[in-house]
């Protein structure tokens, strides 16, 4: 796909639509003139609404697509880590945190899959089996497994096993350390995205990337605090 061309076309399309819809609405005189004319029917408004939504949706770039595909795998690993909390005897506070991470990132995975589906892009499917994460991208050559191991903050399989074997306070400490790194990796991925020409211009992509960034920075701060509280009394025998 030639991105710059697609973008140019969609910008043009949008500009055209805007011009058609709001002919010269920068100047307010015309706005008052227009309001005098009969209001368009609800059906026509609805038609226009969906046309706008559909065309705005297509202003995405390949960098946005890559970001979504990568972040689905990234989030999926956070689910694997968080699901360990109850069975590994995590503290109540950490279980709340893990439950929130599961709830938030599962919803975001869903949102990112929907984002890709609506734009006719390959949609990674997430399969989790214990500590094993499999990402299938149907429609790609030989049902490709997305390579999600080299993204920033991703745990190695050895680290996942280590985490799964830690119990109680040890689990809390290791979980926080790994999840802080994992979240920081997500923040790095957002940073890389927005530093790419043409990326995150599309509204949903911008919003998702921004939400991921602020949510995870917030959680990093909370986890650092939890880790510090934990490391103080925890170091005593």
């Amino acid at each position: 796909m030639n991105i710059s061309n697609t973008q140019r076309t969609t910008f043009l399309l949008i500009t055209l639509l805007l011009m058609l819809g709001a002919a010269g609405c920068k100047s307010s005189q015309t706005a008052t003139d227009r309001s005098a004319s009969s209001a368009p029917s609800e059906d026509r408004m609805e038609e226009l609404y969906w046309a706008r939504i559909d065309s705005a949706r297509m202003t995405f770039s390949q960098a946005d697509v890559d970001f979504m595909i990568g972040m689905i795998g990234h989030h999926a690993q956070a689910l694997i880590m968080s699901r360990l909390a109850p069975e590994n005897g995590a503290s109540a506070q950490l279980q709340i945190l893990a439950a929130r991470i599961i709830n938030a990132q599962r919803d975001e995975i869903n949102t990112m899959q929907t984002w890709l589906r609506r734009r006719g892009q390959p949609v990674p499917e997430v399969h989790i089996d214990g500590l094993n994460l499999m990402i299938h991208i149907p429609g790609m050559d030989h049902e490709e497994h997305a390579d999600h191991t080299n993204m920033p903050g991703m745990l190695s399989q050895e680290q996942l096993v280590e985490l799964s074997e830690a119990k109680g306070t040890d689990f809390d400490r290791l979980f926080l350390r790994y999840m802080i790194d994992h979240h920081m990796g997500a923040v790095t991925m957002v940073r890389n995205l927005v530093n790419t020409d043409g990326a995150a211009q599309e509204e949903d992509a911008f919003r998702l990337a921004s939400d991921i960034q602020v949510d995870q920075i917030t959680e990093i701060e909370r986890m650092k605090l939890m880790l510090e509280e934990l490391s103080d009394p925890g170091n005593h025998p």
Binding site: S35, A92, V214, D215
Partner: protein, 683 residues
């Protein structure tokens, strides 16, 4: 009821439920009207007759059941609706140029509502709330187009990467560009129907939201607090923007807010005047500690026999790993050996606090294996400024902050709270007298469905705090009480106080969860008193929609609907709110409103005000009913009288009330009523 007839024209399957609801609303309306105290009723009842109550207590008040918000049909302009204790006065779709583009926040001036949109902003003339008239649709794309107004200046936030200095619609294709606008746009709206774009102030992280502060002691300037949450811009795009940590580079754009000073005589000279680091050293700030859920868990553990002790100022359940050596210590102290007995266990319980203190206190030699500089959040989402009490509530990532803003350019943090149930502190609202503050948690950023049946009540909710001597104390959570579908983005969002005298009542937007009006006078027991909700925008997939913000402004409740346009509502009397209370609220007139620059409501003297307090005394059963009936009659007689006779009757009534106050369970409210009656007498 034009709304009803409009709906009725559409498919019958859609009108079924609204019909029932509207019928319900009629019943409620008439029911309450019929028994509302009116002067004619009072006139006919002879003095001394037994008084039958017309204002029920909250316990007796009726709620619709099952909740009519569950199961509403989807639609863009024809979604099924549920409404309770309010009336939809109008719905106006966006102008074509703004259709399909996100509507955002609202500001108000005179008879105008200014509505932000990711494509620019609109100005609506709402002189006739039943028929708002679009007077400006200004095309100038930038998310989120958060809007504020002060005198002849309009401020608009730009955050997204596609915003252009020249208001062009083509976006900005390069990661580094001199054409990008991220920050504040300033418009001269001397003629609100003809805005002039006069200046920009660029900021390193753009402006997600902003708040305007007018310092009562400074008539030359107005201040804009900017909160930016997106990434720091490259230095090549905006010189001076540094993305490093402050200890690596003190000029870091992280961990600070920006304060823009706008000279009123020369707004083109607007510039950043300070970048306060209100988050520094938050590790020392006391948190409100554990949430009620955490405390409940600890209590449960305690009851099951776990050892609980304060460690570093917080109650903690001690693990067997800690307890074992302590028990062995107790055994050794009594000169024993072997397994600890029940008596040893009891002895440990008695001395646990001291032992923990001895063991864990003053651990200065602790080696820091992790980086321990705690910076707290690195930005705020919204800062609500309340200049009349010199306080601001900062909703800043993982913290709620209380700020002293007596020096506008240099806000100082005086308290901070954190909460393990809160994900993302989003906005703050004070009650009118500043004794409480409510923070919202925009969990999931507003684009996720966080009001589903199984989403916990305390997640994505409001947290209510009392404020005493500059300290915030957690009281309770409030969350939209009706579960929403997975097709509806829903979480706590923007709202404002409704000036019901003597009560703390707020109207709040919950995106596709609709609008919820609730009473938080009792901070431990907030209760919903009215709502409006639509079904999802789409029956197939989640589309961003719903109420972004809803604010009370001069008798109207105005909502910015992300996809569907502008909604205007008004309150209707109910078991939870009397006509007198609504009338009293409507005596409050504002010249302008930015909800994040909270105005102090002041009620002019009116019979509605006095009667509101009386209704509240009756609702709270703060006086015996006979006395309530007598007071109603006295007020009615005074209202029917005129001139000096009326004044004399009111003065007598005020005197009566003052002498009654001591014997009531709600002396404060009686004194407020007495004061209102005295003002009326003087008026």
């Amino acid at each position: 009821m034009n709304h009803f007839s409009r709906l009725a024209k559409r498919g019958s399957s859609i009108t079924q439920l609204p019909l029932k609801l509207w019928a319900g609303a009629f019943v409620l309306l008439f029911g309450v009207w019929a028994c509302a105290p009116s002067s004619s009723m009072q006139d006919t009842s002879p003095a001394g007759s037994s008084y039958s109550s017309s204002v029920v207590t909250f316990d007796q008040a009726e709620r619709p059941s099952p909740d009519p918000r569950v199961g509403l049909e989807a639609g863009l302009f024809d979604a099924e609706e549920a409404i309770w204790n309010m009336r939809k006065v109008s719905h106006t779709p966006p102008p074509e140029g703004f259709l399909g583009v996100t509507n955002s926040d609202l500001a108000f001036k005179d008879n105008y509502a200014i509505q932000g949109n990711y494509n620019g902003f609109m100005v609506w003339d709402i002189s006739n709330p039943a028929s708002p008239e679009l007077v400006v649709d200004y095309l100038c794309p930038a998310s989120q187009s958060d809007v504020s107004i002060y005198e002849n200046l309009l401020f608009v936030s730009g955050e997204g990467y596609g915003g252009r200095l020249d208001c062009g619609t083509e976006g900005v294709d390069q990661a580094v560009s001199q054409e990008r606008l991220r920050g504040i746009r300033i418009f001269d709206v001397t003629d609100l129907q003809n805005p002039q774009y006069i200046a920009n102030v660029q900021t390193c992280r753009g402006s997600h939201t902003h708040s305007v502060l007018k310092d009562p002691d400074d008539n030359d300037n107005v201040y804009v607090y900017v909160s930016g949450s997106a990434s720091v811009r490259p230095e090549e795009e905006l010189p001076g923007c540094v993305d490093l940590m402050p200890d690596e580079d003190p000029s870091s754009a992280l961990f600070r807010i920006e304060v823009i000073q706008v000279p009123l005589d020369n707004p083109e000279q607007a510039a950043i005047v300070s970048s306060p680091r209100i988050f520094e050293d938050l590790v020392d700030a006391p948190s409100h500690g554990l949430s009620p859920a955490d405390l409940a868990e600890i209590e449960e553990a305690r009851q099951q026999g776990a050892f609980v002790a304060d460690v570093f100022g917080r109650p903690r359940v001690l693990s067997p790993r800690w307890i074992r050596p302590l028990l062995e210590q107790v055994v050794a102290e009594r000169g024993g050996t072997g397994e600890p007995t029940a008596a040893d266990s009891a002895a440990l319980r008695e001395t646990l606090a001291e032992r923990i203190e001895a063991q864990f206190g003053g651990n200065d030699d602790e080696e820091d294996e992790e980086e321990t500089i705690q910076r707290g959040p690195d930005q705020c989402h919204d800062i609500t400024l309340y200049p009349e009490i010199d306080l601001a509530g900062g909703a800043c990532e993982g913290y709620g902050l209380l700020l002293d803003i007596s020096d506008p350019a240099n806000p100082v943090r005086i308290d901070a709270v954190a909460d393990s149930n809160f994900s993302y502190w989003h906005s703050a609202t004070f009650n009118n007298d500043g004794t409480k503050v409510l923070f919202t948690d925009e969990w999931g950023g507003g684009s996720q469905p966080k009001c589903r049946e199984l989403d916990p009540y305390e997640w994505g909710a409001n947290a209510i705090f009392t404020v005493e001597n500059g300290q915030m104390n957690f009281e309770s959570y409030y969350k939209l009480p009706a579960p929403q579908t997975t097709l509806e983005n829903c979480v706590a969002h923007n709202g404002s106080l409704i000036p019901i005298p003597g009560r703390d009542i707020m109207v709040q937007a919950w995106y596709q969860g609709g609008i919820s009006i609730f009473d938080w006078t009792d901070p431990e027991n907030p209760i919903e008193i009215a709502f409006h909700d639509r079904g999802p925008l789409s029956a197939e997939q989640m589309e961003s929609a719903g109420s972004w913000s809803v604010y009370w402004y001069n008798g109207s409740i105005v909502s910015s609907e992300i996809a569907r346009g502008l909604d205007i509502f008004e309150l209707t009397p109910s078991d939870y709110l009397t006509q007198n209370e609504i009338d009293a609220a409507n005596t409050v007139r504002l010249d302008y409103l930015n909800a994040q620059g909270q105005p102090k409501y002041v009620w002019p003297a009116s019979f509605a005000l006095a009667k509101s307090y009386l209704d509240q005394l009756e609702r709270g059963r703060a006086l015996d009913m006979q006395r309530i009936g007598d007071l109603r009659q006295q007020i009615a007689e005074a209202e029917n009288a005129s001139g000096s006779r009326r004044a004399r009757m009111l003065r007598e009534l005020a005197g009566d009330l003052e002498s009654t106050a001591g014997s009531s369970s709600d002396a404060t409210r009686i004194r407020k009523m007495a004061e209102a009656v005295r003002q009326l007498a003087a008026g």
